[in-house]
């Protein structure tokens, strides 16, 4: 009956403009079925717009996209039957209770009244919201609302779940709970495509990451591949005396033959390491030059560093125009 595909999402040349702003500017995607795929980028990068096109909420200006082989424009209803979206803003009715919200969604999906209520109650229990079933959602905490949103998205567990910034604004505990939910859904066979501006979230949760900046993909791959693409690793170092940092940077750059980034705290610096074998010699040279170090470590680069390497800008300062993204 259906075009079948091993890819949950394929997109070629997606473009969407709002007025004169090209929010999404030629995005190609291949998201394998199963696992978590993260869209990583700052505010206004085009993450939400891309997601909305894939979820059939926006029609692309150019390009095409298929979800499990179904075209998001021509076969929009077939796509809607397989995906679910949890938007950035509460996608439940805040005046209704948690139970009523889930019953409503279940009814809209075709459950009979009694089956809808049973389904709603078991979801509330599973999400640890059972005690708040008959309270209005507007009285829920941020973390509870987010769980409500996700519960409403899995009344029928979708084959592909879109989560738009699922943990933005949540406290660490709620954040951990959302991560657990995502992991459970993936274990149950759902593909999760999420957007995030948190690098550690993509790092911890995602199997594959697409880095998006100003409407374009700047990199795509597994987290390991992305990190590897900018070098084998990163040497992090703290000098004892801030006055010695410039000397240390010079010395490291020469010895490792790699660019050195200075940290914001006057004593830390990091260098991308193309060849880890050079590290011991570099450290010895530092010691011989009389530069005292209080701490050093050799690790994989963080996604922060990946973003910096890919775009030339750190993530924090690239937050720009959010227009068109938030709606």
């Amino acid at each position: 009956m259906a075009p079948k595909s091993d890819l949950a999402v394929e997109a070629e040349g997606l473009v969407k403009s709002f007025g004169s702003v090209r929010a999404v500017d030629g995005v190609d995607l291949a998201v394998p079925a199963g696992g978590v795929f993260a869209f990583l980028g700052p505010n206004g990068a085009g993450k939400t717009t891309t997601l909305r096109m894939l979820a059939t909420l926006l029609v692309p200006d150019e390009g095409e996209a298929r979800v499990f082989g179904f075209d998001v424009v021509a076969d929009a209803d077939a796509v809607r039957g397989r995906v679910s979206l949890t938007g950035q803003f509460a996608s439940v009715d805040e005046d209704l209770t948690g139970l009523e919200n889930l019953v409503l969604v279940a009814r809209l999906l075709g459950f009979s009244p009694s089956a809808a209520e049973a389904r709603a109650r078991s979801l509330l229990e599973a999400f640890d919201l059972g005690d708040s079933a008959s309270r209005q959602v507007k009285k829920y905490s941020g973390g509870m609302r987010r769980k409500m949103d996700i519960a409403a998205s899995i009344v029928v567990t979708p084959e592909l779940l879109f989560l738009d910034e699922p943990t933005t604004g949540l406290d660490p505990r709620s954040r951990g709970q959302v991560w657990d939910i995502v992991r459970a859904l993936v274990a149950g066979g759902t593909t999760v495509l999420l957007t995030t501006q948190y690098l550690d979230e993509a790092d911890k949760l995602a199997d594959r990451v697409a880095v998006i900046d100003q409407g374009r993909l700047v990199a795509q791959g597994s987290t390991g591949e992305l990190k590897a693409s900018i070098g084998a690793g990163v040497l992090h170092l703290r000098v004892r005396d801030p006055d010695h940092r410039a000397d240390a940077a010079d010395l490291l750059a020469r010895s490792l033959q790699a660019p050195v980034d200075l940290g914001s705290d006057l004593v830390s610096l990091s260098a991308r390491v193309p060849d880890p074998a050079r590290v011991p010699r570099a450290l010895t040279e530092l010691a011989e030059a009389g530069v005292g170090t209080s701490e050093y470590s050799l690790g994989q680069p963080s996604l922060d560093e990946v973003f910096l390497a890919l775009t030339g800008r750190p993530v924090e300062t690239s937050a720009g125009d959010d227009g068109g993204e938030s709606a």
Binding site: A55, L58, Q88, D95, L104, R107, G110, G188
Partner: protein, 280 residues
């Protein structure tokens, strides 16, 4: 807020795995009717949870009926008892047509929040999101009508056509209001803030209601105003409803109401749906 007994992450994953319902077990798609009913149910729940919004349909009509009857009755019709027979159908018309703005207002709320995205990403019959709430409006209409009719009967309102005539008049009013609602849903899609729907709606309804035969006979107005008041849809509607209430049905006005209603529905129904579908 106090924390619920904390569950371990492993528990959490276990619990959620237990409620996974694969798409293969999803129920069959609901019919258009049951989708409409689900949205009507939601609108009713909203009334239940925010009963303050019923002030408009209970307290306000009482105020209007009392004020107009006793303030203008003597001046306009010579006695409050006589005036009441004429003004009551007019006040029913005014209340019901004004209440029809609610669905547009609530639609705007949904569109500016995030829930609209959820509805749009479900494989359902799209117009149900609008038709359902319009059906639930019937509850507001019924309440407002009951309040006005109840108080009216106490004050001495005697509809010449009895229960059947009143029901026929209200039926016609319902047809008109359902059609008029689509004007407000169009506004609801276009406007950027929910209050703008009421503000703009009031700017339309205020002159239409007062420059009509709802409160005063049109022949007391200056000639140029009579021209407007005579073609004003609210005048046509009021004439038709009055006639039906009092057993003197005005065929021309009744036909007029159906034509205007059909016109409004034909233009604003598809327009709302078009704008709604293309809303980003």
């Amino acid at each position: 807020m106090t924390d619920a007994p904390t569950r371990s992450p492993a528990d959490e994953v276990e619990q959620i795995l237990a409620v996974i319902l694969p798409a293969s077990e999803r129920p069959a798609r609901p019919s258009a009717m049951s989708t409409v009913w689900a949205f009507a149910w939601r609108a009713l729940l909203r009334i239940k949870h925010v009963p303050e919004q019923l002030m408009d349909v209970t307290v306000f009509p009482v105020m209007m009926l009392l004020m107009f009857t006793y303030l203008f009755g003597g001046a306009v019709a010579g006695s409050t008892a006589t005036y009441l027979q004429d003004v009551l159908p007019g006040i029913v018309v005014m209340q019901i047509t004004w209440i029809s703005m609610y669905t547009g207002h609530n639609l705007n709320r949904d569109l500016t929040g995030g829930i609209h995205d959820r509805f749009r990403s479900l494989p359902i019959w799209r117009p149900a999101t609008l038709v359902g709430p319009l059906l639930a409006d019937a509850v507001r209409y019924a309440l407002a009508t009951a309040v006005i009719m109840g108080l009216g009967l106490l004050l001495g309102f005697r509809p010449g056509a009895g229960v059947t005539g009143v029901l026929a008049g209200l039926g016609l009013l319902l047809v008109f209001s359902f059609s008029l609602s689509w004007v407000w849903t169009t506004l609801g899609v276009v406007m950027r803030a929910e209050n703008a729907v009421f503000t703009t709606g009031n700017m339309v309804m205020f002159p239409l209601t007062f420059l009509s035969n709802v409160f005063v006979p049109i022949d007391t107005m200056p000639g140029w105003l009579q021209v407007f008041a005579n073609v004003n849809p609210i005048s046509v509607l009021t004439t038709a409803v009055r006639g039906l209430f009092h057993g003197t049905p005005a065929g021309g006005a009744i036909t007029g109401v159906f034509l205007i209603s059909g016109g409004l529905l034909a233009v604003f129904g598809p327009l709302t749906m078009y704008l709604y579908r293309h809303k980003t």
